[in-house]
């Protein structure tokens, strides 16, 4: 019992050292993995058939960077009609405000002025004959409002540019980057291999820092929000590396910094657009924690 176990252990240790000495560029689809404490524990496994010692999966951490909406979303038709109706009902149930009372007074005064039997002395000692009419006040306010130009809510040209952070300000966007995995170029949430001696969240922070654009984000907690196990295709599988487990960490963008160079493989996508870029299996796992509320 002990002998075969020992042999297996020595073989895996040799393989481990081999993978470390092999330079990364010659990796054809392998993932280098770091030995973890679990591996040391699982080296003591008794059964020979178990291939779970050390853990055959490589570890990686990815960051789910979210840009929250900057402007309020447009109302859907039912929301708009409900909004109008509520406004109407509130108006009906309300009392007249000071401004409205003044309007009514002014209208009455005008009517009296225009009537034939108008006696200006009858008006009770109005020193405010020269006061601005309420209508004039309203007009001046209207003018002031028109003179202020707010920034446009929707800019079509920016919306179409997938790599700009300023697109689709009413939705929350996810950062997706193109990375080389094995021999393929895939669109993924930015990820980084785990190194010994750091927590997975630090790996995720490293992944964020490695992007060409200076992005500042707040990570929400130490716990991962999702996991994706990537199994290598059968011919490439060995006893020691079946694939990788990618843990996702959620972060909220706080500062986007200077705009990215146009050729950097970074995209900001809405949840509905993710389908066109991510692989189906990956998308299935990732969709669960991307909230599009």
């Amino acid at each position: 019992m002990a002998a075969p176990c020992g042999r297996m252990a020595s073989r895996s240790v040799i393989q481990f050292f081999c993978t470390f000495s092999r330079p990364k560029s010659r990796n054809v689809g392998f993932r280098q993995f770091g030995i973890s404490s679990a591996c040391r524990v699982t080296l003591k496994t008794k059964s020979v058939s178990e291939t779970a010692s050390p853990s055959p999966y490589g570890l990686a951490a990815a960051v789910y960077l979210q840009r929250l909406p900057v402007i309020s979303a447009d109302c859907s038709p039912i929301e708009q009609s409900f909004k109008d109706m509520m406004h109407q009902i509130e108006l009906e149930k309300s009392l007249l405000s000071d401004h409205e009372l003044r309007l009514i007074e002014d209208a009455e005064r005008l009517k009296r002025k225009q009537a034939d039997d108008y006696d200006s002395d009858e008006e009770d000692s109005h020193m405010d004959q020269d006061i601005v009419l309420t209508q004039d006040l309203e007009d001046s306010w209207e003018q002031k409002f028109r003179s202020f130009q707010p920034a446009p809510r929707v800019r079509d040209d920016v919306d179409k540019d997938m790599s700009s952070v300023q697109r689709c300000l009413a939705d929350s966007l996810v950062l997706v980057s193109e990375q080389t995995v094995g021999d393929q170029k895939l669109w993924l949430l930015p990820q980084m291999q785990w190194q010994e001696g750091e927590t997975l969240r630090q790996t995720a922070e490293r992944a964020l820092a490695s992007l060409p654009v200076g992005l500042k984000a707040t990570f929400l907690g130490n716990a991962p929000c999702g996991v994706y196990t990537y199994k290598l295709p059968k011919p490439l599988r060995t006893e020691s590396s079946l694939g990788t487990k990618v843990f996702f960490f959620k972060a909220i963008l706080s500062d986007s910094g200077p705009s990215a160079p146009p050729n950097s493989a970074l995209l900001w996508l809405k949840k509905s657009e993710l389908q066109g870029y991510l692989k189906p299996a990956y998308l299935m796992k990732v969709e669960r924690f991307i909230l599009d509320l």
């Binding site: 973890s36 404490s37 679990a38 570890l59 402007i71 409900f82 509320l293």
Partner: protein
Amino acid sequence: MSLAFSRCICRVLPQHIVHRHYPVYIMSKFSFRAEPKKKKKVDPKREQMMRERLKKKLKKLEKVPPELIPIEDFITPTKCLDEERTRPISAISFEESERRALLLKEWSRYKQKQHMAEMKAVESALESQREALEELKITSEELYQAALKPDFTLLPFTHEGPAYTPPKSKYEAPDGKYTDTTRVYTQ
């Protein structure tokens, strides 16, 4: 004692000397110049007790419960009770009231769907996190424990919510001056 002594001296000494009656000063315990203390020792204490009792009674009488701060939201200002301010009610046609009722029903259906969708999304996110933590536990106990630790650097977390229009770059807001008319009450 002095008297007895002087009597002795009279008998002993010849008479012509003793006639003078020298005042004999003999040290004695009692000083005859001080006022006699008529007050008893208990009296000042008794007076003090009386004073304290009176003070306590006074305090009890003067104790008024602190005035409650009025909640301004609950007091209808008299301006609103003015009869002149009632809006002339325009009658709502039957079609309008029907439309409103139907719209309200539509709205409740829409909101219910929205709520269910939200709940479902949150549940799926939680499920995903739970699975991730399970996987992590299987993979590495150390990393799992590190993931479970609370993050103290996160709170207090602030984020500017969405406004109606996006922020204008290089916008100089006009200086506004306002007088704060909130009434401050002290108890």
